[in-house]
Symmetry: C2
Subunit: 203 residues, 2 copies
DNA sequence: CCTACCGATCGGTAGG
DNA sequence: CCTACCGATCGGTAGG
């Protein structure tokens, strides 16, 4: 959400173009979205776009970088409370799944990046993202005592994977009769993960 | 892999078109692939395609149905040996990860279906797939004694999710310095899953 | 199954 | 920032 008041007119127009492109690309993919559609949605003439971006791909690169899920997701995870790993994971999971429900575009953006751009921008993305990942890895690390011996980076990766696997299988199994789908599936996913990583209690 | 000798000429041409479209769509997406590219790769004139398919979308529907990862993956899982859940999971995981390495197109096909077709074909897909899923669910069910109390369908879903989460995070974290990536990450994923689902032993 | 074509739309630009 | 345009390419078809 841009704050028009703090931006110059040119910056506002630029942001409008990025927002328009983001919406369309998530709905139709990159190749399926035309510069004319973007210009219409942004409320200017086709030629006007080229005052702000040299070409179509440059718009996408801006979209993928500024709208990347990690920007919302990582701060969300960092802010999750919890004095033990178990509490933290439960809280973080609850927040994540709520956010994913609110933003179905998250996965689609990643798909477009992976298929239509073959992940070309991922290395650059990661430079921006990495400083935010580190404190999460360390948060697991500082609770080593509660955990089975697992490399903390793998732990973080499996933690991320928990959401990805839930969300992807949700999409993939969309065709399944609802009667077969147990309620609270996500809670079960969280329990499996917790049992998988937390050391057996001594008592 | 088609067997030309057992097909009529028309069927062979049709298959050639599907194969060509599959390759191109996985590389460039659906909207990014033109009918002319498909015709060139299949070795016939543009107009010739329309003797076999009414339009572009019909080709994709055939591609997604006949090349869907589940066709390779489910038989692979079913054939995995193992008298206990633990053995089965380890064997199945080994086979799956080898197959995923061999067929990077798997995930891309799913992405195209999900983004460019909004999962429209998934319900129909699932009708074809479901009979193959059932025996796998039952296989978990028949070893209930070894497992924590988890709905067998969720168990299957989490099992599928194990591969998806490993593979997706592998792609997503592609930008990361290799020095930070622990070796044998996949084995760790399998261990976390096993600890998550297998009941604590009595001894 | 090919040739030759259709109208529509594409990304991008010149010129103001 | 818009108007008017460029050549190229798109999905699809008629006619043989």
């Amino acid at each position: 959400m841009p704050q028009p008041s703090s931006l110059t007119k040119g910056e506002r127009t630029r942001q409008t173009i990025i927002d328009a492109a983001h919406t369309l690309i998530v709905e139709q993919g990159y190749a399926g979205t035309s510069m004319r559609q973007i210009s219409e949605r942004a409320g200017l003439a086709l030629g006007g776009i080229y005052n702000h971006f040299p070409n179509k791909e440059a718009i996408f690169v801006e979209v993928i970088i500024s709208k990347h899920p990690f920007h919302q997701v990582l701060p969300l995870l960092q802010a999750a409370p919890g004095d033990t790993v178990e509490e933290f994971v439960r809280n973080a999971a609850k927040r994540m799944i709520a956010e994913l429900g609110r933003r179905p575009d998250f996965i689609k953006l990643i798909f477009v990046e992976l298929v239509e751009f073959e992940g070309r921008d991922l290395p650059r993305m990661f430079q921006v993202i990495f400083p935010q990942v580190l404190p999460l890895v360390q948060r697991f690390q500082s609770h080593e005592g509660e955990l089975r011996p697992i490399d903390p980076f793998i732990l973080f990766r499996a933690f991320l994977g928990l959401f990805i696997s839930y969300y992807m299988t949700e999409l993939l199994l969309a065709g399944i009769p609802a009667a077969l789908k147990p309620e609270n599936s996500f809670d079960s996913f969280v329990e499996i993960f917790l049992h998988g990583v937390i050391a057996a209690k001594d008592n």
